[in-house]
Structures are given as structure tokens and as C-alpha cells.
Amino acid sequence: MTVAEYNLCVEDYADSIYRFVKKNLRDEHRAEDIIQDTFTKMWEKHETVNYAKAKSYLYTTAYHTMLDIIKKNKRLSIEEEIETTSHTFNQYSDLSEVLHEAIQRLPASQRSSLMLRDYEGYSYKEIEEITGLKASQVKVYIYRARKYLKAYIGAIENVI
């Protein structure tokens, strides 16, 4: 791709990729680092990357970088999650906050698959290309994620 096309990619996709990474990591500074790193990698290979595939390339790169960080930072233990949950029932004012909290409790692969599906409208096949998971796995993860979120919302409503 040309320099102009690369700059168009920055304009078109930086916001959405930043949102995707930030939502997954819940760390603004680290998300910014990943965005910088992602676009730097694409710039290094911009002559070989097709402009039509740029968005997929960016998401794939950001996803794998993000996953490495998630694996390095081990998630909270289940006991800690349950303890945290019991103290936060009274803090939610609307559904979006509830969903936001619920999403963070999903495993990384389910969370990423669901975000790519809902935020970007990717198909199972496209998510497969980005994450390296099989389309059937992606479908299972999304189904499981929706079940979990529905159960979480239901639990909150029962308490409130």
C-alpha cells in the first residue's frame, strides 16, 4: 500500500482497534503501546500488505500482541472474582455498566470473539482469520459468552 493508504488506515481504524484493545486490557497506556506497535509493524511491511486486507492485518496483529500480554498477566483467581462480585451489586446504574463488568469476567478468547462480533460486525470466518481459532470454535465461544452475560444480567436483576 502507499503512504497515503497507510495514513487512511490510521484515520479509519486506529479508534476502533484502540477501543477493542482497551476494552480487553482495561489499561489505557498499555492499549496505546499496542496501537503504536501494531501500526509500526504494519508500516514496516506496508509495501507487501494489501490495502483491502489492512483492517484484518491490524486486528490480527493487535489481537495476538494483546493475547501475549494477557497470558503474561495471569487473571484473577476464581475465588477473587466471586469475592469482587459480591461487593459490586449495588454499584450499577445501567445495563451498559453491568455488561462492561460482565465482559471483563469472560476468558480472553470469548471476550475478544464477542467484541469482534458485536463491535466490528465480523463474521465467524473473519474472526477465525484474526484470532487463529476455528470458525466453529468462535461460534461456540460467542454462544457461551452470551449465556454467561445473560446469566450475569439475570443475577443482577434478581438482587436488585
Binding site: V3, N7, E11, R19, E32, I35, I103, Q110, I153
Partner: protein
């Protein structure tokens, strides 16, 4: 049942996570995970429930079949709700789902709850987009032409803006505004601007004789002052700012040589900065080789920094090159290979 090991455990891992392993397979896979705790941790990252709470009763296998032909019931109703959200149902199946929900309030609530799990993207802005963007690199010749044209334009503007009175000859004193006459070489720093004013109009005239007389009237101090004025009037010529930063190449642990400022000392770059083997005297045999190597190294340096998008070599840049010296049986260097990130020069040395 086949044995689970490192080369086939992934086949069982997915079924393990979705609760589709038989009791025998579950036992075997659990033993495998106990043997490889690292793999067990990785799988744990992808699970929501503790292993003991795996939902073995729920299965998605029926979704592999054509959904439209399945009867909707309480057991698979939630899967149908999710499938409807994901657009995975045929029109007929969607209609069947609507009929199944009917006026049943609880079922309607469940469907609504699933619809609420649809994430709505928030409006997020990445603030540092400008730092990600790149600019087009102009060809070197184009940049030099622009610089030269800017310099000439600025010089012409300065000369036209000043008003000078030309002395009749190099020996004729210069008449200042206060009607005093002094020789050009006698001017004090305070009088220099007046001297320049007196000389400048003659420099711009087409009469080459008067022009050369005017130039001869200027001392080196006056010429320096004119140059200073030119510099001041065209700051963009000498103080260009480059959006593309200089990239310092990664350091190599192997033998390396630091190149000094290219515009000052590159011509003087000597083998004194080269690795010890070359300094010891057992090195390039003839002067010609030294010069050729120096020139080739300089070319490599220029191509290196320009490839990085540097617009000018007026800024300090550090480049580290590797030298590989290949010796013969007697320890005499016969070949030198100069390497950088952007290429290498392979030079066979003249033998003594």
C-alpha cells in the same frame, strides 16, 4: 481410546472445555493435565467455570444439523434465542421460535435478556493518530533543488532590501549617511551596516565592472555580515525541522564501528576506528584499498541513513557497522566484509 499426548491433546481440549468428553476420555485428559501443568494453566485461561462445574449436559451438537428441521423445546430454546441474535436461523426456524415464545411471558423475558447481551460500541477516540502517520519522502535531488532555490531567493531579497552607495573604486573611501568618508577596511562594527548599505546597490547592477569593484570593497567581515543577514532572513533554509526522526540502528554485540558526524569527519574516517585486527597492522595492504573501503563504507552509511527516511544529513546520526575480517592461514587479512542492516560490502584485499 487412543492415548493423549503432546501431539494430539488439542483435539481433546476443545471437547473438554465444552463438556463433550466421555467419562473415560475425561479421566485420561485430567491425568494428562496433571502431568503438564503449563498446558492446564493455558486451558484454564479459556474457561469461565471451575473444572468441576463443567456443563456436561448442554451440548451444541444439534446445531450442526440444519436448524430449521429441529423442534424447539425448553432444552434448546436458549440456543435458538442466541442463534436468532446471531442471524444463524433460517426464516422458517425464526418463525417457529416466534410461535414457541407466543404469549409465554417467561420465554419472552429470556429472549429479551439475550438481546440485551448485544454489545454496543462506545465512541472511543485514539488521541495520537498524528504520531502514527507517515509522510512521503521526496527524492534527494528535489530536496537539494528546493534548498538551493530558497538560498538564492533569500540572498536576492536581502540585497534588494539594502541601499548602498558604491565607492568609485576599491581605493575610494565609502561615504556614509553622515557624509563622512572612510575606507572599507577601516570600518568599525557599528559602521558595518552603513558600509553594506553603501555597497549593495552596486552589487545588484548589471555592470560587471561596478559589481566587481563593489565586491572588492567588502572586507571578510562585511561578507560574513551579509551571509549572517541571509541566514537570518531565511530560517527555513538552515533550521529545517524533520518530521521523520532519525532511527538509531540496534546495537550489535559483534565488532562495531561508530561513524562520526558525516559532514565533519567522514572524510577523515580512518582505520584507527576499525577493529583491533585492522589496527594491528595486519590489515589492508595498500593505500588504495583503504581509500576504496572508506568510500564504500561512506556510501553504505549514506544509503543507510537515507533509507531510514532522513531528509538531511546535517543532523548527527549514529550507525553501527559490523566488520568481518577473513584471514588466510598466516593470519593476513584477505577479505573484509562490512555489514549494516541495509546491506553489505564484500571487499577482497590486495595481497602484499
Amino acid at each position: 481410546m487412543k492415548k493423549i499426548h503432546l501431539h494430539n491433546y488439542k483435539e481433546f481440549a476443545i471437547d473438554y472445555m465444552v463438556g463433550q468428553l466421555s467419562a473415560e476420555e475425561m479421566e485420561a485428559f485430567s491425568s494428562f493435565l496433571a502431568e503438564y501443568p503449563t498446558i492446564a494453566n493455558d486451558i484454564l485461561l479459556f474457561e469461565t467455570e471451575a473444572p468441576a462445574e463443567r456443563l456436561a449436559t448442554k451440548s451444541f451438537s444439534h446445531l450442526k444439523k440444519e436448524i430449521a428441521h429441529q423442534d424447539i423445546n425448553e432444552d434448546n430454546f436458549e440456543e435458538y434465542c442466541i442463534a436468532a441474535m446471531e442471524g444463524d436461523l433460517t426464516d422458517e426456524a425464526t418463525e417457529n421460535l416466534t410461535i414457541f415464545i407466543g404469549d409465554h411471558a417467561q420465554r419472552h423475558t429470556v429472549k429479551v435478556q439475550y438481546e440485551q447481551t448485544k454489545l454496543v460500541p462506545e465512541h472511543t477516540i485514539y488521541q495520537h493518530k498524528d504520531s502514527l502517520k507517515k509522510t512521503e519522502r521526496r527524492p534527494l535531488l528535489y530536496r537539494r533543488l528546493i534548498t538551493t532555490a530558497s538560498t538564492l531567493t533569500a540572498a536576492s531579497i536581502i540585497l534588494f532590501a539594502l541601499i548602498f552607495v558604491l565607492p568609485e573604486s576599491g581605493q575610494t573611501p565609502i561615504t556614509l549617511a553622515n557624509n563622512t568618508s572612510i575606507a572599507a577596511s577601516d570600518t568599525t562594527p557599528q559602521e558595518t551596516p552603513q558600509v553594506l548599505k553603501a555597497v549593495a546597490p552596486k552589487l545588484l547592477e548589471n555592470n560587471s565592472t561596478q559589481k566587481s569593484v563593489a565586491e572588492a570593497a567588502l572586507t571578510p567581515t562585511h561578507k560574513k555580515e551579509i551571509k549572517k543577514q541571509i541566514t537570518k532572513a531565511s530560517p527555513t533554509v538552515t533550521k529545517q525541522k524533520y518530521s521523520t526522526p532519525i532511527v538509531t540502528l540496534k546495537k550489535r554485540e559483534a565488532k562495531k564501528i561508530n561513524l562520526p558526524h558525516p559532514t565533519l569527519e567522514l572524510d577523515n574516517m580512518a582505520l584507527a576506528q576499525s577493529p583491533p585486527e585492522l589496527q594491528a597492522g595486519k590489515h589492508i595492504a595498500v593505500e588504495e584499498d583503504k581509500n576504496i573501503l572508506r568510500t564504500q563504507t561512506r556510501k553504505l552509511f549514506y544509503s543507510t541513513v537515507l533509507a531510514q527516511g532522513v531528509k538531511s544529513i546535517n543532523r548527527m546520526a549514529e550507525t553501527e557497522l559490523d566488520y568481518d575480517v577473513i584471514e588466510d592461514e598466516e593470519g593476513n587479512p584477505i577479505r573484509v566484509i562490512v555489514k549494516s542492516r541495509f546491506g553489505e560490502i564484500d571487499r577482497t584485499l590486495a595481497q602484499r
